[in-house]
């Protein structure tokens, strides 16, 4: 046994002794709750029988029941089969990747998911270019490709006091490994005119959702994605082709992408109209997702078995670049300690963090705070509301994207609750 494990065991014993000594004896350490197990083989009927389906595509254990839910109390699909927003079960997430089946989904007006034959799909690059080009999917797959991890988050992903679980408070962000061609590669191929400042990206769905994207972003890191987590992009995510605008609000990541039009001004599409504001501060906060993090375990609706050791786990991300640091508070934001970054923080990607915590069994409040590589710090809800308050009028709502800190209250019975007031 390693020295570290021995130390932990000793430490836990001491913690339990201390807990008992101060009168918390009713809360047993988590280690003491299991019963003795005899190693036995599963009953013959308990094997998963081989099947053509299991051979062909596989499936998860029947004991795993983690699922997405419609977001915001709106039915999805509705009676007509339209999909609306669907939230991912972050409470069950491990690692950094959201499985494709569980990736959150957003739509602009409710949408029938287009059923596209990839052989018939085309992408047109045109407008202020020297050489307009039409690509088939086969053409695109011949082009130089990249594979990158990026999150996508809906601008409306905000925690409300009525929410009880992290799926409700934060379920409209997900992270996948995306494969495709850099938009800059095809724009250079087309030869963009020097005075072109914007591109308009458009999908094939019935509303033909279109967004204006600044040329600096298009040339920096936007991706034309045909691959997601090692297989073709899922229909709900834009099969056979979607745009990824890393770190930008979800709506810019145009699905079922059919057209990139190079233009010399902001086109004020209907999607763009959704961002219309007369407040320069609100406008400045409109495109890029701010630094954000959330503790996935323990999180709202979960139940801790008792005092003792826990690895606090969570996700941090920022539209501004890599996550450089995550801090944890176990006392409601009064003091902060560095969390461990698990794996390698990548630009505009969910980054897993963890923090070793010995819970003494007393009520407390857990928070996490993200700091990104360009120095942006995730604000507390108080700080964000202070910012939006004016003389004489106290803000009760964080305008635009709400990237404020999520507090989870751990009650003395081990229940975990949303502590947003």
């Amino acid at each position: 046994m390693s020295q570290k494990k021995t130390d932990r065991r000793e430490f836990l014993k001491r913690s339990a002794a201390v807990a008992g000594a101060v009168g918390l004896g009713a809360v047993k350490p988590a280690l003491g709750q299991d019963h003795e197990h005899t190693p036995v083989a599963p009953e013959p009927g308990a094997f998963i029988r081989g099947s053509d389906e299991m051979t062909a595509y596989g499936s998860r254990s029947r004991f795993v029941d983690s699922v997405r839910i419609p977001h915001g109390g709106r039915e999805s699909p509705d009676a007509f089969g339209l999909d609306f927003h669907i939230a991912t079960p972050l409470q069950d997430s491990v690692g950094e990747i959201t499985p494709s089946s569980l990736h959150y989904m957003g739509t602009t007006r409710g949408s029938f998911v287009p059923d596209i034959d990839p052989d018939e799909h085309r992408l047109m690059i045109h407008g202020m270019v020297d050489n307009p080009i039409v690509f088939s999917m086969e053409d695109l797959k011949r082009m130089p490709s990249v594979t990158r991890k990026h999150f996508i988050e809906c601008a409306g992903n905000r925690s409300r006091s009525s929410h009880t679980t992290i799926q409700e408070t934060h379920g409209m962000t997900s992270n996948a490994e995306w494969t495709g061609v850099l938009l800059s590669t095809v724009l250079k191929e087309a030869g963009v005119h020097a005075d072109a400042d914007w591109v308009v990206a458009e999908g094939v769905e019935e509303v033909k959702g279109a967004s204006s994207i600044p040329m600096a972003k298009a040339m920096d890191d936007c991706l034309l994605c045909y691959g997601m987590n090692g297989e073709p992009v899922r229909p709900q995510q834009g099969f056979p082709l979607r745009l990824l605008a890393p770190g930008f609000e979800g709506i810019f990541n145009v699905k079922w992408l059919r057209r990139i039009k190079v233009v010399d001004e902001y086109y004020m599409t209907y999607n763009d109209f959704g961002h219309l504001t007369r407040d320069p501060v609100n406008a400045a906060l409109g495109y890029q997702i701010g630094p954000k993090s959330v503790i996935t375990y323990p999180s709202g609706g979960q139940q801790l078995p008792g005092a003792g050791f826990y690895e606090i786990g969570g996700l941090a991300w920022s539209g501004g670049g890599r996550v450089s640091r995550v801090e944890i508070s176990t006392d409601g934001g009064r003091s902060w300690k560095d969390a461990d970054i698990r794996g390698t923080a990548e630009p505009m990607a969910h980054t897993r963090f963890s923090f070793e915590w010995d819970w003494d069994g007393a009520e407390c409040e857990l928070q996490s705070r993200c700091i990104d590589e360009i120095g942006q710090i995730q604000p507390s809800r108080q700080q964000a509301l202070d910012f939006w308050s004016t003389d004489g009028e106290r803000a009760t709502f964080v305008k635009g994207q709400d990237n404020s800190i999520q507090p989870w209250r751990v009650a003395s019975d081990g229940g975990v609750h949303n502590a947003i007031s």
Binding site: M124, H126, V129, N131, P132, I133, V134, F135, R142, M143, E189, G191, V192, H193, A194, A196, D197, E202, V207, K208, A210, P214, M215, A216, M219, D221, R259, K261, V263, E265, Y266, Y267, M268, T269, Y270, F273, H275, L276, T277, R278, P280, V281, N282, A283, A284, G286, Y287, Q288, G290, G319, G320, I374, Q376, P379, Q383, A384, D386, F387, T390, D391
Partner: protein, 199 residues
């Protein structure tokens, strides 16, 4: 409290950022000949058929014309009234007529109503053309879209009764919010959303 300070910061930021973004534009957005030669060149006709994105200048608008009168009939016959209400309100779909905000109201007081809040008439034409009616998107003729757009502008006192619109006159409409909105500051990689947010 925040506005004065943030305004100044924002203006400064914009001025500072203008120079590098122009430089980036010149260096990396240079026109060049194809490197890979993959894909094919679309025909002019193909581009015309695909290109439904109408910019503020209205260059892509198809030839056609419509009138407030025709629009008021189409509003009923095409089923718009069923979801948006007979007079542009009271339905399950977004409101299309401005709220009563009294005399001398700021256009922002009329609510989030596309045919009055949008800075450009082209946005209204474009959205009706690409996304309406629900379930039958793309079936309206250009003339019908000009008529429906004219009618919605009439409902919101943007144009007078009897107005006719075509590809020349539509982009010339002065919407009340034409300049009364804020563009996002120029975006650059590695740039904070807003210097000093929130503290």
């Amino acid at each position: 409290m925040r506005s004065a300070k943030q305004w100044t910061a924002l203006k400064t930021l914009r001025t500072l950022l203008l120079v590098p973004i122009l430089a980036v534009g010149v260096v990396s957005v240079q026109a060049q000949s194809p490197l890979y030669g993959v894909g094919r060149t679309p025909t002019d006709n193909e581009i015309r058929l695909w290109d439904i994105a109408i910019g503020p200048k209205g260059e892509e608008l198809p030839v056609g014309n419509g009138s407030v009168d025709m629009g008021s009939e189409l509003y009923l016959s095409k089923g718009c009234a069923g979801c948006h209400g007979t007079l542009g309100n009271g339905g399950i779909a977004p409101r299309l007529i401005k709220r009563d905000a009294g005399p001398n109201a700021n256009p922002w007081d009329y609510g989030r109503v596309l045919p009055i809040r949008s800075p450009y008439a082209t946005t209204v034409w474009d959205f009706i053309n690409r996304a309406m009616p629900l379930g039958a998107e793309g079936t309206l003729t250009a003339d019908e879209v000009y008529s429906l757009t004219a009618y919605l502008f009439f409902l919101n006192d943007v144009v007078e009764d009897g107005t006719e619109l075509n590809e020349i006159t539509l982009p010339q409409i002065q919407m009340p919010n034409r300049t009364n909105w804020e563009q996002v500051p120029d975006w650059l990689p590695g740039q904070p959303r807003l210097e000093g947010y929130p503290y």
